[in-house]
């Protein structure tokens, strides 16, 4: 994609984790065929230090994506199937009385993992949802007054089904803001679907995947992403987008400063994935709909992603 512009100026990227990053991308692409862009988004989200919300109908590969990511990234993986009777303690863990020591001992819940798949997050009650979202925001959980840090890196992939609304508790707008990116996977194109139908069992493939990156690599890559140059011209563009979202007549609530930070972080991660050490307006454009789509509150009954796209088409680039 950006190969022909792999720049002469890009010299500062540490080659080793970056090569492994490419290998990791390639490996996930092999399992999840025809989903290049969504996978890249997931990686950008990971490298920008955010959490990912995948919104799509069942069976298009949401779980496979999470599994493949976990196996490839070499992260400890847990999955929580959200249901309406799930309690906060089912996620964060409980303190149980240990008769031997005569004291309460903390039994950590499934949240103590590096990659957490929160499946059908909108099926749990708001109380349970907020326990997870608090952990996502703070990178720690508080049980019985004691704060416990979560393992690093900590990356949540939550999924929800946008169509089946019966018996669900849709995430309120303020909570949606905790997710850095919201993506969808969509149906595969005919060619990818044929490869899917004729290829091996995906679960089997996933189980055989070797880790391509380590937790330490990811933390190093995150530091690299954070160091990527965002020039004054680029910051102008980001600010113009934010300002436009606040002035647009079809938008009730525009993008928050936190959204602006997320946009910049994702654009930087996208530039890193493109093997560049500076951010281009194209990077911002590439991630904008995924960053802004779920954060915009439309004034009328309008599709949010379309609104984000329309916003992108009103702001001029230098």
């Amino acid at each position: 994609m950006d190969q022909h512009l792999a720049t002469a100026a890009a010299t500062s990227i540490d080659a080793m984790p970056h090569q492994r990053l490419d290998a990791a991308l390639a490996q996930v692409n092999e399992v999840l065929v025809g989903k290049n862009r969504a996978i890249r988004m997931a990686f950008a989200c990971l490298l920008a230090g955010g959490h990912l919300l995948v919104e799509d109908v069942p069976g298009v590969g949401k779980t496979t994506l999470a599994h493949a990511l976990a196996a490839t990234l070499g992260l400890t993986f847990r999955r929580i199937q959200f249901t309406s009777d799930l309690l906060p303690s089912d996620i964060v863990g409980v303190s149980v009385f240990d008769r031997d020591s005569g004291a309460f001992r903390f039994q950590p819940g499934p949240i103590f993992a590096q990659l957490l798949l929160a499946d059908e997050i909108n099926r749990a009650t708001p109380k349970t949802q907020s326990a997870l979202l608090e952990a996502m925001a703070e990178d720690q959980v508080t049980v019985d007054g004691a704060s416990r840090a979560l393992p690093q890196p900590f990356f949540v992939v939550a999924t929800q089904n946008p169509l089946d609304m019966a018996g669900t508790y849709p995430l309120p707008d303020s909570q949606l803001d905790r997710f850095m990116l919201r993506i969808s996977l969509d149906y595969p194109d005919p060619e990818a679907e044929r490869r899917l139908l004729t290829g091996e069992n995906r679960a089997e493939m996933t189980s055989q995947l070797a880790p391509r990156l380590s937790g330490a690599d990811i933390l190093a890559l995150r530091r690299q992403a954070h160091a990527i140059t965002a020039s004054p011209a680029l910051l102008d563009y980001v600010q113009a987008l934010l300002a436009a979202s606040r002035k647009h007549h079809d938008i009730r609530t525009g993008l928050s400063p936190r959204a602006g930070l997320a946009l910049l972080a994702c654009a930087r991660a996208w530039a890193l994935l493109g093997d560049r050490d500076y951010t281009l307006p194209e990077d911002v454009q590439a991630v904008f709909v995924a960053v802004a789509g779920h954060r915009l509150i439309p004034a009328r009954n309008l599709a949010r992603d379309a609104l984000a796209q329309a916003l992108l088409e009103t702001v001029a680039v230098e």
């Binding site: 004054p232 194209e282 992108l312 001029a316 230098e318």
Partner: protein, 663 residues
């Protein structure tokens, strides 16, 4: 990426015609055919429409080219059809029909951008030629609007338009059309024009465009059912009463058994017959629409006329050149008059009594019986004839049955049905047979008084024929035998019939009057703006007669001023000020690429834009790639780019010359 569907067999895909421009091209051709439809045979127009539709449908379905053989066959068919219909490929109507056919064939071979541009140019020319047939305001406006698809097609042929959106193309077309109006007006006023338009000579002098100089029973029928405007007359004072509204056109002396012709007597080089007037004269302006004929019309009987109109020996008015454009002339007429000298010249008397031998014996016999009964009383004979028409079962009907060789006998004793021509012809024949000098006059009678604008509107349907008889001591006296007919059948085919006076429903009349005011203004001011009027254009500035050189100089001055003003406005227009040297250089680079059709969208990222440019200009790809990388690095990889690199970039942009192999 844009996806262009390319027909297989097109040599270079980049130059192939996309779907949207092709559809617009079809629309353009359809508009041209519609503009010419009024004068082409219905089946011919329908066939051309069908070919366009078939091609459009076929290209939509399978996107193949039309084979050269089929095109050649069509070409031959077009020529054959035109020759079959018109008998000749030359002239106005056949010519227009041929070029319409050629346009359709050209559409069939339009597969590349160059073809499409040529087709649009061709279509515009043919569209303009439709104005040779109709120069009314409404039609001119319609033709102007029909330019829109052509302009939209041209826009769609240029890059930078969303593939399947036709509205932006039409928007550009509308703006172009509106912007061209001042230039058109300027050209209209100042481009020196020929004294006679080029197509003035091409006109065919058939009765279709007005009254002809030959009158046979049935000839006027097509005129009497034609509602087209013939002329408009503005009177200085009150208009004459309806009974006096006879507008003299031609005097016909010679009868050959079938038709009335001017004859040698009408062509004698004599001064106008003397007129003794009683009472005040009527002064008026006539605005005659193009008739392609020499003869003009004046209220019976004209006494004096402006220089454009010469007075003939029979007090008919003539124009030196055929009336190819709207002609305006001024006349003074007497409604109460005595026409002709005291005694009729023997040669004229002979001409006014001459009848072809061997025709219409019964009519002659009847006239001789009248003469025998009346003795020397000419007026009694006239009265006998009028009584015959009034009392003997004669009927006024536009649907007159055909007449045989003895047309007068057939009419008088058999069919007894006809309109002004039949009556004027038979009456004049009877008078001559009875020894009274008589002649036929054709012209218009009646008209419609437009009370809003105070002018008399004469339509072709007001065409009329009457007689003049020589009565001793009274000169030539007008007798309208048609008026004597008591029974009138309104023909189903006709509109307003001049012979019997106007028609039309009342609610519509005021609106028709107002509309006709606009049409009169158009005819007098725009269509009638001829070389003479143009030469008087500068009269307010003290130049009585502007020569072609003066007009040319004026045109050059105005064009120069307009260009200067445009340049000034462009220079003063607030532009997005580049914020630094780097941005300025980048905008310069963008402008260079824009010249090759690579136009940057306002919200397009720089990398995407340069990638597009590199793909569009493969010959300059290497340089462009280096330049774009340098720009992206300078703009986005530095908080403060090093000045020497910016200077180098500015220099490189200045020296950059995009190249593209032009085919």
């Amino acid at each position: 990426m844009k996806h262009r569907r390319v027909p297989p067999g097109t040599r270079d895909e980049a130059w192939a015609l996309a779907t949207l421009p092709f559809n617009l091209l079809c629309l353009t051709v359809v508009c041209v055919l519609a503009a010419h439809a009024p004068h082409m045979p219905v089946w011919y127009t329908a066939a051309l429409f069908a070919i366009v539709l078939a091609r459009w449908w076929q290209r939509r379905q399978e996107h193949r080219r039309v084979s050269a053989w089929l095109r050649i066959v069509l070409l031959i068919a077009v020529l054959a059809a035109v020759i079959a219909v018109y008998g000749t490929p030359f002239g106005r109507e056949p010519g227009a029909a041929i070029v319409c056919g050629l346009l359709v064939v050209k559409l069939l071979e339009s597969e590349r951008l160059r073809d499409a541009r040529m087709t649009v140019g061709f279509a515009c020319f043919i569209l303009m030629s439709a104005l040779l047939f109709d120069q009314s305001l409404a039609f001119t406006v319609v033709v102007g609007l029909m330019l829109l698809p052509a302009l939209a097609t041209l826009r769609a042929l240029e890059p930078g338009l969303p593939e399947d959106r036709w509205l932006p193309a039409f928007k550009t077309g509308t703006v172009l059309l509106a912007a061209s109006l001042p230039a058109a007006l300027l050209g209209f006023l100042l481009i020196p024009r020929l004294a006679t338009p080029l197509w003035g000579a091409a006109g065919n002098g058939v009765a279709r465009t007005g009254i002809s100089d030959r009158m046979a029973p049935g000839d006027l029928h097509s005129l009497l059912t034609d509602n087209a405007v013939a002329m408009r007359i503005g009177f200085d004072g009150a208009p004459p009463p309806d009974s006096q509204r006879y507008f003299r056109g031609l005097v016909l002396w010679e009868f050959n058994g079938r038709a009335w012709l001017p004859g040698d007597a009408a062509k004698r080089p004599w001064p106008p017959a003397p007129v003794a007037t009683r009472g005040p004269l009527v002064h008026y302006d006539v605005t005659l629409l193009a008739s392609q004929q020499h003869w003009l019309f004046a209220l019976d009987v004209p006494v004096a006329a402006s220089e454009d109109a010469q007075m003939g020996p029979d007090r008919t008015l003539w124009s030196a050149k055929p009336v190819a454009q709207t002609l305006r002339y001024r006349v003074a007429s007497a409604t109460d008059y005595r026409l002709g000298p005291a005694t009729l010249d023997p040669r004229l008397r002979a001409a006014a009594l001459e009848l072809p031998a061997g025709f219409d014996p019964s009519a002659r016999a009847l006239a001789e019986r009248w003469r025998a009964a009346a003795g020397a009383d000419d007026i009694a004979v006239v009265r006998d004839a009028l009584e015959l028409f009034h009392d003997d079962g004669f009927v006024y009907d536009l649907d007159a049955p055909p007449l045989g060789r003895n047309s007068i006998d057939d009419f008088l004793f058999d069919t007894k049905t006809g309109f002004c021509e039949h009556y004027a012809s038979a009456f004049t024949f009877l008078m001559r047979a009875a020894g009274i000098p008589a002649r036929v006059v054709v012209g218009y009678q009646g008209g419609y008084w437009n009370a809003f604008a105070h002018y008399l509107l004469i339509r072709q349907s007001d065409a009329h024929a009457w007689s003049e008889v020589w009565l001793k001591g009274r000169g030539w006296v007008r007798v309208d035998p048609t008026a004597a007919v008591s029974r009138v059948i309104l023909a189903s085919t006709g509109g307003a019939m001049g012979d019997v006076g106007g028609g039309g429903t009342s609610w519509w009349l005021p609106w028709r009057d107002r509309l006709d005011i606009v049409n009169r203004w158009w005819g007098q001011t725009v269509v009638g703006f001829d070389a003479l009027k143009q030469s008087r254009l500068f009269t307010p500035f003290g130049i009585g007669h502007a020569t072609a050189q003066m007009l040319g100089i004026a045109l050059a001055i105005v064009v120069f001023l307009a260009l200067g003003l445009g340049a000034l406005l462009a220079a003063l227009r607030p532009r997005d000020k580049p914020r630094d040297a780097l941005a300025a250089a980048q905008q310069r680079l963008q402008r260079k690429l824009a010249r090759f059709g690579v136009v940057r969208g306002a919200t397009e990222g720089p990398q995407d834009f340069f990638a597009r440019g590199t793909a569009a200009l493969p010959d300059s790809a290497l340089t462009l790639r280096a330049l774009s990388t340098e720009y992206l690095v300078l703009r986005y990889a530095y908080a403060e780019p090093p000045p020497e690199r910016i200077r180098a970039f500015v220099r490189n942009v200045r020296h950059f010359r995009p190249r593209r192999v032009v085919k």
